[in-house]
Structures are given as C-alpha cells and as structure tokens.
C-alpha cells in the first residue's frame, strides 16, 4: 500500500444509514484528492438488525477488497450494540483505535462499557441532534460531522457542501438543510474523555 490508509468500521442497526454514510464518505474524499472505498456488509436486510459498513480512505487507489478487521476508527450509530457479541464492536481493535459513539452517555461511561485498554473514546448524542435538526432518528450524517474532529478528511464547510450536493438528488430541501445543520452541531458537540 503506497502511503497511509485510514480504515473505518461502522456499526449500526438496519435503517440508521450506515451504508449511506460509509459510501458517501468514500465519494466525498475524492474532491480532496484522495481515494475512497465504501461498502456495507450485506446480510438479511431487516430494519433493526445489526449491520456493519466499511470505509477506506487513502492517497493512492485502494486495492484490497476484504472487510475491515483491524479498524483505525470504529463508529457506532447505536450504543445498544456495544455489548452485542454478534455486532463485535471491539473485534480487532487496539489501544490505537478511536471509538466514536452515538450516545447521551459520557465518554468515561462508554469507555467502561467498551472495556478496551487505552481506547480513545468520543461521544456525541447524534440521535438527539438528528431529531432536533430534521425530525428523524437517523444519526448517520451527524456522525460523519463528528468524525472530522478526530480525522481531518476535510473541513466542516467542505462536508456541508458535499452533503448538500449528494443529498439534494434524493431528498427534500428540508431534509438536506436539516442534515447540514446536524453535521455542524455534531462536529461542535463531540466530547472526549
């Protein structure tokens, strides 16, 4: 692999938008001259079932096509998955792994629940932000906003532009504007231990 690569693993429940976020990010980094790869893990497509998504970002074309087993960053859209064995939130992680958790709990409390030595834990209440901003509990895009705090893939303004461009093809202006508000708020409200 020429140059460094960031590997992100998304944990969520079906319907929370992990697939959209994983693939959106892979596309958005193109404008920053980087190469992205994004894909979900396809299983039984049931709303509420534990799902994973993957995003890789690198300076050179990405060649590997396997799932992310040793993530640099773990993003959890639903904190009820933290203790789920089948979700495997901590699988393959190390003291260098950064955890971004959607929760109203503090990073310290989540750190205890994760039980990973030296884990760097960040939390943000992305569900509340999503409800406040566009009235639906879909926390995927706020978590992308929060991600920029720990990994400077682009500026928050660049993210807002990329998001508006992509979402306006598919969603109403109200949903687009709400998501733009939400990513900025999550970016500002991310807490670390």
């Amino acid at each position: 692999m020429a140059g460094p690569m960031v590997e992100i693993r998304w944990h969520a429940r079906g319907g929370q938008g992990a697939k959209t976020a994983a693939m959106f990010l892979a596309e958005a980094v193109l404008d920053k001259g980087k190469f992205g790869q994004g894909f979900p893990e396809y299983g039984p497509e049931r709303r509420g079932a534990p799902v994973r998504g993957y995003t890789r970002i690198a300076d050179a074309p990405i060649r590997r096509h396997c799932s992310v087993e040793e993530p640099d960053i773990v993003i959890v859209l639903d904190s009820t998955l933290l203790e789920s064995k089948s979700a495997g939130v901590t699988a393959g992680t190390s003291a260098d792994t950064v955890f971004l958790i959607n929760t109203s709990e503090s990073p310290e409390a989540i750190g205890k629940r994760l039980d990973v030595d030296g884990a760097k834990v960040y939390t943000v209440d992305a569900t509340q932000i999503a409800l406040d901003s566009f009235g639906r509990s879909i926390p995927n895009m706020p978590m992308v906003g929060a991600l920029l705090v720990v990994e400077e893939l682009m500026t928050i303004d660049e993210l807002k532009i990329a998001l508006a461009k992509r979402f306006s093809q598919k969603f109403s202006q109200a949903i687009v504007d709400g998501n733009v508000t939400a990513v900025e708020r999550a970016y500002k409200e991310l807490r670390s231990a």
Partner: protein, 392 residues
C-alpha cells in the same frame, strides 16, 4: 486525454460503459446482485441519455432468447445476470455462441444455490466455461468499466463474432463505492465504433437461415468454426487492449503480472481477490520473500502459451479457485493451469479453494498461502488441493 474521476459502485460503472456503447437493444430480468446495473441502465434510457430499446422479459431464459433474436436481427445487444439467472439461461447461452452472435453480458458473479446465497463466488461463470463465450474477469470497478467497453470491440470484431461476458464479483465490486476514471461519452463510443452485422435477419436483400437442424453432416464443422473463432480472440484482444491503453493510459493484457519478474513463488488469482493479494505480496516483498501474482483476466479463450512462458521454472505455484468442482481434482482454474504446465520442468502446483458464497478473502488468508508456498519451495510435501478460510 481528459478523464473524469468519479466514485461509483461497480454496477453503476458497468451500466455507464453499456450506455456509452449505445446498444440498440437490451434485455433484462432482475437478480441480485446484478439488478442495480440494469436499474441504472434503465434510468439512462428513461432520461433519454441513450435510445436503447429495453425488452423486459419474464425470465433469464427469455432474456437470453430475446438477446439472441435481437443480435440475429443485426442489433448491438446486451444483457446481464447473476447466479441462478445464468443457470436458467443455460440452453440459450450455448445457442448464442453457436450462432456466433456478439452479445455482451455482465455476469455479476454470485454463488449458485443451494442453500440460497446472494454473495460472490465464481461457480456461475465456471459453469459456462465450455459454452463458447469469451470470459474476462475484473479486479475492481475501473477494470469492470474498461473491460465492458473493450469487450464490445473484441466480440463484434469480424474475425471473432462471439458473445462476451464481463465478470465482476457480486457485492465485492458490484456494490462497493470505488474511485474510477470515466471516458466522455463520445470518446468511448468512438473507441467502440458503430456495429454492422455481417449477416442479419433484417437484411431482406440477403436472406439467411439461422439455427436450422444441424446433424451428423455439418454440426462438427460448425463446432470447429467456434474453436477457431476462440483462437482468433487472442490477436484481436491484444490489439483492442493496446489501443485502449494508448487512449486511456490503462494497459491491459490477457493477464496482469504483479511483481512477477524475479518471483520464485507465484499466486494465480481471478477477480477482486487480486487486489487483496497484491497488498499482502508487498508485505512479504518487504521481508525479502520473492513472491508475485499472476492475475488472470482472460479465462476463455485460455492463453495457454503466454501462461506457460510466464509460469515455467518457478519454485512453487498456488492457484486459487473461487468455485469447487465437486468430486474433481481441484477447481477449474487449477485444472487448467496445471494441465498447461505439463511437460515443463517440475514445478509444484497447489490449489486453494476459497471464498465460496462470499466468505471474506482477507489478508490473513493470503499470508497463509504465501507461508505454505515457502514450505513447498523448501521441499516439503503438502496436500495438493486445499480449502482456505473454512471453519471446521
């Protein structure tokens, strides 16, 4: 030349290539993971970006039948399928090749049932290996797009006139957002060019018969003509790939050699697994292990002379198969490579069957094969046909 860097899933990329070929007719029936490809193409038609006549049929058998009728009429024709859909086409897949109709098809590789599995392996395509089609396997979205374009040129070439499959791995490529360069529409179409069938049912001034009874008198000679046409794919494919390389800067050949020059140990792989393999080969190269990859793209026709030239004299070879031949001696790629190297100096050639039903082919599995290759090269006698990544 200027090319547009975009992020697309493999299915979208291939749909784009098909749009740029401006086919007269497309026949379609949905099946996962192919569906999004045809969905995207239908969107291009609905938006007026291409004036292809879409025939929405009631099964894959009908999809291939409609494609045959359309191609026999003289139209540039394409279709797409996966897995059980390809199996249902079966009878007509042979007819397409026997009639020498240059139909282009995306085969988005998926395991065959049962039990029901929607994920990638190559058992669908390998079942069609003897059907007379050209078969090319692709590593990523870029290669799938490029191959879909090039296959029109190769299959429709007057020396060839054979149907061609662009194989790309279900989900792993078809549903993964990946960065790739696209040609602009006119450049892509100019590269492929217009299609003029040599014999067409709609050419009423020159009436022909298509698909008559063909018994002991001529059937054998017609099979000979298919064998000869397959041989003529080699020079045509090379010419097309070389022209494409000059146009885009992306060079292709029958197979790709990755760090192979001085390699003692060689892995042979098809499809998306090649990229994962390359990453691990780099790690072993850093440790001083002389290992390389032969990524086979063209599986039918099988470029035996070129493969022998490249593989002869190596210390150990691992052939990976993403499909099984139940009761056979190894998988189909292994059988072919091993047979090709008969009478060369004795290089141990081992087989690993992997990734059935979409089982992840990860970095550890590549490392496991390279470790075994080192043992084999050191003279250890290991089992010849193996399973990789299985939990027993």
């Amino acid at each position: 030349m200027a090319q547009n860097l975009v992020a697309l899933a493999g299915n979208e990329a291939v749909a784009y290539a098909f749009k740029q070929a401006r086919p007269h007719v497309g026949s379609a029936f949905p099946i996962t993971p192919q569906t999004e490809m045809m969905h995207k193409f239908a969107e291009f038609v609905a938006n007026g970006e291409v004036d292809t006549e879409m025939i929405l049929v009631e099964s894959e058998h009908s999809a291939m039948s409609a494609a045959i009728g359309s191609a026999a009429a003289g139209a540039r024709t394409f279709t797409a399928t996966s897995s059980a859909g390809f199996a249902l086409m079966w009878e007509m897949v042979y007819v397409a090749a026997s009639l020498r109709l240059p139909i282009n098809m995306a085969l988005v590789n998926r395991a065959l049932s049962g039990n029901i599995n929607i994920h990638c392996d190559h058992s669908d395509s390998m079942g069609g290996r003897d059907s007379g089609w050209i078969q090319v396997f692709c590593e990523n979205a870029q290669e799938s797009y490029d191959t879909a374009l090039m296959n029109f040129r190769i299959s429709e070439h007057m020396d060839v006139r054979l149907p061609a499959m662009t194989n790309y791995d279900g989900f792993i490529i078809s549903h993964t957002e990946d960065a790739l360069y696209l040609l602009d529409d006119d450049t892509a179409y100019d590269f492929i060019g217009p299609y003029q069938a040599k014999y067409a049912l709609l050419d009423v001034e020159n009436p022909i018969t298509v698909g008559p009874l063909d018994l002991t008198d001529y059937y054998f000679e017609h099979k000979w003509s298919q064998m000869e046409a397959q041989k003529r794919v080699f020079p045509v494919a090379r010419e097309v790939m070389s022209e494409f390389g000059e146009l885009t800067g992306r060079s292709y050949d029958f197979f790709e050699e990755y760090r192979l020059d001085d390699a003692d140990l060689v892995m042979v792989v098809l499809g998306s697994s090649a990229g994962t393999t390359k990453d691990v080969i780099d790690e072993y190269r850093d440790k001083g292990v002389k290992v390389g990859l032969l990524k086979l793209r063209l599986f039918r026709p099988f470029p035996v002379a070129e493969i022998v030239k490249v593989l002869a004299g190596r210390k150990a070879i691992a052939v990976l198969d993403r499909s099984a031949s139940f009761g056979g001696f190894g998988g189909p790629v292994f059988t072919e490579i091993r047979s090709a190297l008969y009478r060369q100096e004795q290089t141990p050639i081992h087989n690993w069957i992997y990734g059935l039903g979409g089982r992840d082919y990860d970095l550890k599995q590549v490392a496991e094969v390279i470790e075994k290759l080192q043992q084999i090269a050191a003279g250890e006698e290991l089992q010849e046909v193996n399973l990789l990544g299985i939990r027993l």
